[in-house]
Structure formats: structure tokens, C-alpha cells
Assembly symmetry: C2
Homo-oligomer: 354 residues x 2
């Protein structure tokens, strides 16, 4: 990984983010400004946001219910109609204040309203700061299939206000931390070691977030449309997404994204050990670190079959083949690896044994 400041894109603002926002409004003079929040961020972040942006002329606040189920086509239709009702035009601006659900949904709605209006992301969760709100992917779910519908459209600005992290509970922090671990595994052994060095994940929030933004944005810049190395960001996500979909279908309290990805990373690290040459002691390191942060769940034979069946919806598939991203080494990944079901089941056995 290069030095962090070299690779942070100019529209990702850590320093005086609200001043930058006011400046942008002065320059671009949007016809109207809308703010999207969910019931969680309305309660926990909106008061703080309003206090910090008193000068900001907001025409309307749209509130949607928090939770992954809201990231749907129905909510998109609801928001498109709200925008039309309030005479939004393609020179209007939508500010998305929230976690990944809000930035994915708001980005999709804005990028397709009248074929595209500007949007700004203000991520309020660790997961959104290190992953969802950056890199230009927007999307909504199609029933239980995550992000099946979406666009690639960049936020005009992404504003980082780390004070919102104080509103998160431990589970939510852990959910974002899985992506941080992934960034280390695919791009930098040093970063992996450093982010694991503290007992409390948020003790080094700024270092960690800038590091993850740097890893992700330098990959996205090289391959915005995911033709090759952007696929590396899917490490842990092929099985992780399937586990997440499965958990939404079957569990009363579905796994958070990061919990599912943590399981996916263990499974895919095992596959890396079997297939792409990851040394055994690194596999042991990875599962040790992940177990320190996440409570692992085992999967029965029937559950494994269900999850494997869900792999057919993976967005990286080609010609019906499920293609994995695997580690060759710590900080070094390969993509487009096809794997037999037997070996995937072996990986589940490894997970079940730990």
C-alpha cells in the first residue's frame, strides 16, 4: 500500500467536510437540496448534522425505515415520487446521511431520477465509511438478492465526519471492521497487522478509515467497472453474500453484512490454502483474528447446500461458473477461480470445526 494521502481522491473529504459542502452548494447552486435519512440516522445523526450545517438550505427531508428490507424497489418508487412531488429536477441535489443502506439506495434513486441528479454521501457507519459509500456502486435488492439492481455512479462528494461513529454499537462496528480486515488481506499485510494491533477497533479510527478508503479507491480508480482487479474487493463476499442472503431468508435476526463476510473470509481463506497457495500458518492467523472479533456459526449439510445454491446469483459469475477471489499470500489476491462443490464443503467442515 502506498502512503495513504497519495491515494485519497479529491472528492473524499476528511478535513472540514461541512465547509466543503457549503462551498460546493455555492459553486453549483443546485435548484433544490434534499436530505435522505432512515429512522436510525434521523434519531442519532440528524440533530448533530443540523447543528453543524445551520447555513444549509434543505428543502425537504425524506425519512425511510431503517434496515436492509428498505433497500428495495418499492422504496425507490416511493422516493422517486417524493422527488417529483417536490419538483426535484436534474439540477437538484440529494444528500444521503446514513449507513450503506442509505448511500446505496439514495445513490441509485439519484442516479436514475430524470436520468441522473447529483448526490453526496455522508456515511455514518464504519461499514459505509470504509466500503459502501465510496467507489461509485449504487443499488437495491431484488427480494433476497443483494444489490441485483443498480448503477455505477459516483457521489459528487463523500464527507467523512468520524463523530458519527460514536452512535454505533459494538455489533455495528464489527460489521464494518470485516471490510477493513478484507482490505488488509487483499492489499497489505502491514495494514492487516496494524488494524489488528488494538484491543478496541475504534482506537485508531482515522488511521483505519483512511487506510481502507485508500486501498479501495486506488483499486476502483484502476478498474471502475470491475473488469479485473476490482474483483479482489469481493474476497470473502462470494460465500459471504450467499450466507447473508441465506440468513435473511431463514433467521429471525439475520446476520449483519460484516458477520456474514467474516464467515465468508474464513471459508475463502481455506479455499485459498487448498487452491491458490496461501500458507497454512496464515490461514491459522486469519481464523484466530476473526474468531477474536466475531462469534462464529456452523452450518449443517442442508444449510450448506442452500448456501451453495445461492451462489448462482453472484454478480461475478460467468457462463454459470461461480468465480472466486482467493489469496495467494497475505496482501495479494487472484480472481476468476472456479472451484468444485466438494472443496467448498470441505471449507464448511473447517469452519464448523472452529
Amino acid at each position: 500500500m502506498n502512503s495513504i494521502n497519495d491515494t485519497l481522491p479529491a472528492n473524499y473529504i476528511f478535513n472540514k467536510p461541512y465547509e466543503k459542502l457549503i462551498q460546493l452548494l455555492r459553486e453549483r447552486r443546485p435548484s433544490k437540496v434534499f436530505l435522505l435519512v432512515d429512522t436510525d440516522t434521523e434519531e442519532h445523526c440528524l440533530p448533530e448534522f443540523k447543528k453543524k450545517t445551520e447555513q444549509l438550505p434543505i428543502n425537504e427531508v425524506f425519512t425511510v425505515k431503517s434496515g436492509e428490507r428498505t433497500k428495495s424497489f418499492d422504496t425507490s418508487v416511493y422516493l422517486w415520487k417524493k422527488l417529483a412531488e417536490h419538483d426535484a429536477d436534474r439540477h437538484s441535489l440529494l444528500i444521503n446521511l446514513g449507513g450503506g443502506m442509505i448511500t446505496d439506495l439514495g445513490g441509485f434513486v439519484a442516479s436514475t431520477y430524470k436520468r441522473g441528479m447529483d448526490f453526496i454521501n455522508i456515511p455514518t457507519t464504519l461499514l459505509a465509511m470504509v466500503d459502501a459509500a465510496i467507489g461509485g456502486k449504487t443499488g437495491v435488492n431484488l427480494d433476497h438478492l443483494k444489490n441485483q439492481i443498480g448503477t455505477i455512479s459516483s457521489a459528487r462528494l463523500v464527507l467523512f465526519d468520524l463523530s458519527y461513529l460514536q452512535t454505533l454499537n459494538e455489533k455495528e462496528v464489527k460489521s464494518g471492521f470485516a471490510e477493513v480486515l478484507k482490505h488488509g488481506l487483499i492489499a497489505s499485510m502491514d495494514y492487516w497487522k496494524n488494524v489488528n494491533s488494538k484491543e478496541n477497533v475504534l482506537d485508531q479510527a482515522e488511521y483505519m478509515i483512511k487506510g481502507s478508503v485508500s486501498v479501495k479507491s486506488s483499486i476502483v480508480e484502476k478498474d471502475p467497472n470491475e473488469e479485473n482487479i476490482r474483483k479482489h474487493l469481493n474476497f470473502g463476499h462470494t460465500l459471504g453474500h450467499a450466507i447473508e442472503s441465506f440468513s435473511h431468508k431463514t433467521m429471525e435476526t439475520p446476520m449483519l453484512h460484516g458477520e456474514a463476510i467474516a464467515h465468508g473470509m474464513i471459508l475463502e481463506s481455506y479455499l485459498s490454502y487448498k487452491i491458490s497457495g496461501l500458507e497454512k500458518h496464515y490461514l491459522t492467523d486469519i481464523i484466530t483474528v476473526i474468531k477474536k472479533h466475531y462469534e462464529l456459526k456452523g452450518f449443517s449439510e442442508a444449510e450448506q447446500n442452500n448456501i451453495i445454491d445461492l451462489l448462482r446469483y453472484d454478480k461475478k459469475n460467468k457462463n454459470g461458473n461461480v468465480l472466486f477471489v482467493l489469496l495467494k499470500n497475505m496482501g495479494d489476491a487472484v480472481h476468476n477461480i472456479s472451484i468444485e462443490h466438494d472443496i467448498i464443503k470441505e471449507a464448511f467442515s473447517y469452519l464448523n470445526d472452529h
Copy 2:
């Protein structure tokens, strides 16, 4: 207008279109090939298409009901689910065989499925050939508001097979011809005169279609995201779209797009005469030509108010101002013109008197 052949983009294929299609499949090897038709093109165009493309491996044909009402999110959701069900991935290809409804809808569905899969347009109506299927705009309607949701995404190829024009009735030909007239009015007096020189519109189909494709694509190339001169393509459409929306809301047999645009062009030519210096005798020419091809309808005071009210949804609006494209001269347009309601009503009176 420059010579036609200079300005036809390389992915717009008039010469041996199906050979080009087969060649593309050989080169890009899509994982699956899907075909989208509506109940009209299934009956009138699909048999011909199949005969001409026997070598083509189609995995599945999706048929939707013909008519503008099908261009909705409900249909989009239906098609996204069908694609998922048939294991479409982002390396799959969707071929849109139909009029503007099919190319707009299919383009939107493809460009947002897993954040974008390839699509090819094969326009079967005059309207789609000279307008809807080219230029990269995709979209669906939000209730009665036309194309409020969409993307800017180019078809990988647009194939022109003029034999499909024989399946059209006179009304459908007239619907497309309005866009041809518009291309003359905004870009070339010669083209305007030539396309008006024949009794039967289709007597010069190839000249006319290549001319319109050339006008539109050279404008789109200069301004793909409609920041400035692409707006000229909206001549006749500001009031025309409002009339079309109005007719869908209130009439049992709604106006076809081209009929609404024909009315819009008369109204906006009158505005051009009053505001932007179009000479009176050209206004007379325009209404004479349009009356030759279209049966004009008058609008009551109440209907006018309804239509004017619908202007607030126009996609070119900025800060609540409705912005018109007007003619300075034959073949020469200006954009971003704001106009008082009184003068719009005067234009309706002029239309009612003819």
C-alpha cells in the same frame, strides 16, 4: 447537415446487420442471450427475425404486453426477476426487438441489472429507428410522467432492418415522422424540404432514416449528457410531452407520441415566431406541412391549464422554471428560453384557430 455517411457512428449498422450481430457474438461470447419483444413484435417481427438469424443461440424470449403502460417499474421488476431466474449474469446480452417502448424499457433493465449488462437495439418502428433506439437514453415512466426514471447507457449495437417498417400502419409511420420533421427544423432546412417532398413518407425511408440518425447522433456525440445543444432535440417536446401525458390521463385512445409532438411543434413554432425571431412565413410553412400529415386537435381553456400544469415535470426545468427550445430560423435552434404562461395560451389559441 454534413454528408450523412460522415456522421453515422460505427455501432449503428445499416449494412448486413445480422452478419454484424453474429460477428459480435463470436467476439464477445456473451454467457447467455435473451430477446425482449412485445406482443406486437412477437407477432409481426419475431418470425422474420428468427428466419434471418437461424444461427443465433437465443436462451430465452421475454414477451411483454405492447403499449406505453408496459414501460413501468412493474415490468422492470418482472424482467429483472426473469433474468435472475434464467441465471443471466453481467456478461449476458439482451436484444431489444421492438419500438421505442421496448428499446427504452429493455435498455433500462439491462443497464441496471447487476449494474449493467450489454444490450443491442433492433428498432422495428420508424419512431424507434430515428429517435428512441439511438443516442443512449433509456427509461421507464413514473405513472403518467414519461421517462422520469432512466439511465444514459449506449446500446452495444443498433441494427437497422428497414423491412420491419412494412409491418407498421399509417398512424405509426406518422408517429415517427414527427421526429424526422423535428430533425429538419432544428438542424437542416434542406433535410426538412427533402423529407416533405414525397407524398408517401416511406418512399424515401433509407434517406430519411440515415438523415435523422445522422442529425441526432452528431448532436449526441457533442453533448451526450444534455448539458447544452442536446437540448435542441427537445424542440416540440416540452409542450408535446405534457400533451402526451395529458392524453394518457384523460383520453380513451391516447395520442401517439408523434401526434403529441406534432401539436407541440406547432405551439413551439408559434412561440419561436413571438420570441426568438422565426419569420412568420416559416411558421405558416410549418403548420401547413404538419396539417398535411396530422389531424389537429384543439384544447379548451381548462385543458390548456392542465397541460401547462404538467410542464412542471419537464426534465429540462431548472429552479422551477420551464425552459423551452425555440427556433431562430429553419434549421437553427436556441435553448433555455423561459416563457410566460400568457404567451403559451396565445400559442394554444393559434393552434385552435387552425
